[in-house]
Structure formats: C-alpha cells, structure tokens
C-alpha cells in the first residue's frame, strides 16, 4: 500500500429503507457532524431538516447580481445617452429612469441570472471532474435502490475506527473506508 492510498476521504455505509437513512441522518446531525452527506436515488422530503442543512446562500448572490445589473444598466444608458453622446430621442430627457427602463430591467434579470448560475457553481464547488466516491463499487446503487451516508475525513470529529463504530450503531450496512 503506497503513500497515496493512505489518504482517507471518509467512511461510507448503506441503508435499505428511507426511514432508516432519515433517522440515521438525524442522529449524525445531532452528534454535531459538519462535513458529511447523504446520497439517495430520489429526493426525500424533510431531509434538509433531518441533516440540519441551512438555506442555500445562492439567493444572496442572485440579489447581489440583480442590484449590480440595475446599476450597470443605469450607468450604461446614462453614459451613452447623456454623457458621451447626448441625444434627444422622441422628446424624452437625456436620461431618466423611465425611458431606458426595459434596458435596466433586462440588465437586472441578466445579472441576477449570472449571480444564480455562477453562485451555484461556486457553492457546489463546480466544476469538478472526479470524486473519490465514484471509486466505491456500490456507489452506483445509490441511484437505484440504496441510500448512503458518508462521513468525511475533513470533519474534526472524524476518526476511522470511531466513525465506523458510529455508523454501525446507526444501523448502517456495508461500512467501507473510502481512500482518495
């Protein structure tokens, strides 16, 4: 076993029933784990609360993007129509908030969409082309009929043997140590 294989990503275990994985997740949450995840073939309603996940921070970047877009639109139309090349169109003022409103509005939407799209890339740590879990022989089954809880090594509470025992006490099966 060479040095590279000594690095441990975490410990995984599987469950066969929704209720089992749901209650196990609540116990992991209550034990104070921060770096861990649940993998399921379909969304389980209430899993966010069972895992103690906070609301996604992406909407904040959406708002930030929207406000940026509105200001950008204001500057764009003001600079072009009122500052760099003052031009009267249709008897309207050089600049007001009304006549370029479609521009301001579209810039708001566009930048808000940028905020959302790139925000989820940032918070999901994308792009990422591989993951240690993909090496796990039974990982494909979590897109079919199996549920999985993974405790990650970067969590301060992590210790290989204790974490294995903890997963065992939760009723997890096929407990596996995942190596990077």
């Amino acid at each position: 076993m060479n040095e590279r294989n000594e690095r441990i990503h975490g410990v995984a275990c599987t469950f066969r029933k929704v209720s089992d994985v749901f209650h196990a997740a609540e116990k992991v949450r209550d034990a104070g784990w921060k770096n861990w995840d649940v993998h399921t073939p379909f969304p389980i309603h209430g899993m966010d609360q069972a895992m103690g996940l906070p609301r996604s921070p992406v909407p904040r970047l959406t708002l930030l993007g929207g406000v940026t877009g509105f200001i950008t639109g204001c500057l764009l139309t003001w600079y072009m129509n009122s500052y760099d090349y003052p031009l009267i169109v249709g008897g309207k003022p050089y600049w007001s908030v009304i006549f370029p409103f479609p521009v301001l509005y579209e810039c708001t939407i566009l930048f808000a969409a940028f905020g959302t799209f790139f925000g989820q890339f940032i918070f999901n740590r994308l792009p990422r082309h591989n993951h240690p879990l993909f090496e796990l022989p039974n990982f494909a089954r979590v897109s079919d009929d199996t549920f999985m809880i993974v405790l990650e090594a970067r969590d301060p509470q992590f210790h290989v043997d204790e974490s294995r025992n903890f997963l065992q006490s939760l009723g997890g099966q096929e407990i596996t140590v995942i190596r990077d």
């Binding site: 309603h45 209430g46 609301r55 909407p59 708002l63 249709g90 008897g91 309207k92 009304i98 006549f99 409103f101 479609p102």
Partner: protein, 423 residues
Amino acid sequence: MSTSSPHALTAHWKKFLAVGVVALAVVWYFAFAGVQHHDNRQALSVLVGSLFWVAVLIGMLMLTMITRVFDAGWAPLIRRNWELLIAGLPVVILIGIVPLAFLPDFRHAVWYWTDGSHILPSGHEVGHDPILLAKSWFLNESFFLVRIALYVGVFGLLVALLRRWSFAQDTDRTAGHTHRLHAVSAVGIPLGAVTLTMLAFDCLMALSYHWFSTMYGVWFFALSIRLALAVTVILTYKLSNGGWLDGLLNQAHRHVLGCLMLAFTVFWAYISFSQYFLIYTANIPEETFWYNIREFDPVTNLKNEWWGVSMYLIFGFFFLPFLSLLFYRTKIVAGRLLTVAWIILVGGIVDLWFNAIPRQVYEKSAPEGFVVTPFLTSSLFLDLLAIVGFGGIVFALFLRGASRQETIPVHDPRILESINYHE
C-alpha cells in the same frame, strides 16, 4: 352542520350582515344626496367599495379555477374557503354595480358618457362628441346594461357550478366531480378572463371614455389576484387561530401563498408600468391626458395630490411588498406574511382610488377648461365605509355558507396531500 367548536365563528354571520346593511344604507343615503346635488363623488364610493370586493372575489374565482386546472396538491384546504367566499361575487355586483348602472341618475353621474348633456373640458356636450359617436357601437346605454347583466350571469354561473360539484363531493364521495370541475375550470378561465376584462373596461376605463388601454383588463386581473391572495392570507391566519384551519395550516401553505403574492406583485408592477411606459413613449394626447391629470394640476402646472398617490403606488404598493417578499422568512413567518398582506390590501384600495376618482371637471375659468377631482376629501371615509359595507355582506354569506357546508373538503381526492403539504 358540524357542531365542533371551530365552527362557533359561523354564528356571527348575522352581525356581519347587520354591519353590512347599516354601512351600505349610510353609503347609499349619501350617494343619493350627492346625485341630487349633481355631485358624483359619493356615488363613486359605491363603485369603489363594490369593485374592491368584486376584485377580491374575481381573484378568488380565478384562483379556484386555476388550482383546479393545474391539479394543485396544496390547494384543496384553502380552496374551500374561496368556494365559500365567491358566493358573494354575483351578490356584490347585484347590490353595488347593477343599481349604479340601471338607475339613470346614478348612471349619468358615474359614467358621464351616458349623460348627453354633460359638458366636456372642450365646452362641448357629450351628446355631440365625435369620439363617443365613433365608439357608440360599444358605448351605448342598452348594450352597456346588457353587459352589466351578463357579468352577473356569467360570474353567477361559474360560481354556482364550481360550488355545486365541490360541495356534492362532500356527501357522495365521487371522484368524478373532480374531473367535472376540471372541465368547468378549463372553460371557465378564458370565459372569466374575457368577462373580467369587459367589466374593467365598463366599470373603470369608461369613467374617462376618451382614454383607452388594451392592458387594462390584465391590470385588473393582476390587482384582483393580489387582493384575493392578501385576503386569503389574512383570513386563513384568522381561521388557523380558533377557526376551522386550527392546526391544519402549516408553514408550507404560507410559503406557497407568499410565493404567489410575490409573483403577482411583480406581475402587477410589470403590467402597470408597461401601460404607463407605452403611453409615455408614444406620447399621444388622447392617451397621455389620463396620466397627466394624475400628475399635474392643470391650473398651476405643479404636481397635484394624485402625484403623491402614484408615488405611494410605486413605493408602498410595489417596492415595499416586493422587497419584503424576496426574503424566505417573510413568506413563512405568519406575522410577517400577515403584515405584507395588509400592506397589499391597503395598496389595492389606493390603486382603485387612483384609477376611479381623478377626472377632468369642466371649469370655464381654468386655462385648459377643467380642474382635476381632488384626492383628499371627506368622501375617502365614505369609500372605506362602502368597503366595510360590502365586506360585511360578503363575510355574512361566507359564514352562513360555512355553517351549512363542510369547511374542509373531506372527500377531495387531494385533501390529504393538501393537509400534509410540505416545501
């Protein structure tokens, strides 16, 4: 009739009826007195009061049909309250708009295009106005009265069908009623959309018959849904504290209502602004005068009271609810959602004032031949009294209906999904 304690509320229906009858008696008394003195402002109170509830109930009617068509899983628990409330829609039109339209004195006072001797700002009489003559295929008194009668008929029919089969399901437990209501709603949505558009044209847009906006019906629809959702949030909050929704209304129901309030707040702003923006850009006098009298005093050319009202609509009726509702917690914390619902309710009244009250009043000495109806008058209290009056009738009918029908659609195929609704 159920005997469980949450239904103790329904015993109050007579109090609501009494409040409604007394308030409407006072409003109609002042409206009669005003019309005798050639003052139409008090008659407009009847129009504003009835249109407020017409808007609320049309919104609920459309929401009832939309949730039916989309098989909304969250809806049945809340929709039953809409089904109980919309019984008031034909009634409010009958006791509010129908008398205004069918009594000649009121008709002439409110819709001055029906009064041939009314003097326009140009100094000419309405009867000789070429613009009215060109529109007379639509704007003539007999067709107008037929249309008003049709509004009672079409809305009455939709309300009757939607209620009948939904209530029938409570006793005969047949899923076929859900399919039947699905079909009624699919036909009813376009029918209701055309009818509410015509109602907005006839009751509000025709108040200044020179002016025209093809977006007016959509604006009225957006306002209706906003008001309907605001009343729904306030009512369901009340009913979940000692009413029949006690222990049933959950965070996810508030969340879905809050999301809809946000969506229709944006939609209302989009429509209202687009209407303004197109008229501003085209800059045609036939259209711009409608906004000009809502901004400038024609005598002094300074901003008038209506400019303040329009600023309230932008900041108080759009930005305040919009920015509040962007936040997730506003939509799930009951007290916050309730506050936003009240802000939307108040804003809806102001929006009706903005659309119904300002008009050009002939004044020979003024430079442009007219002055604008002021905003701040004691008649605003009469408007509010009219809203209380028609509201009393609507809620008396609601509570009486609730004492006779199930207040939870117990055999709706989706009732469990609705009660256990989650985000």
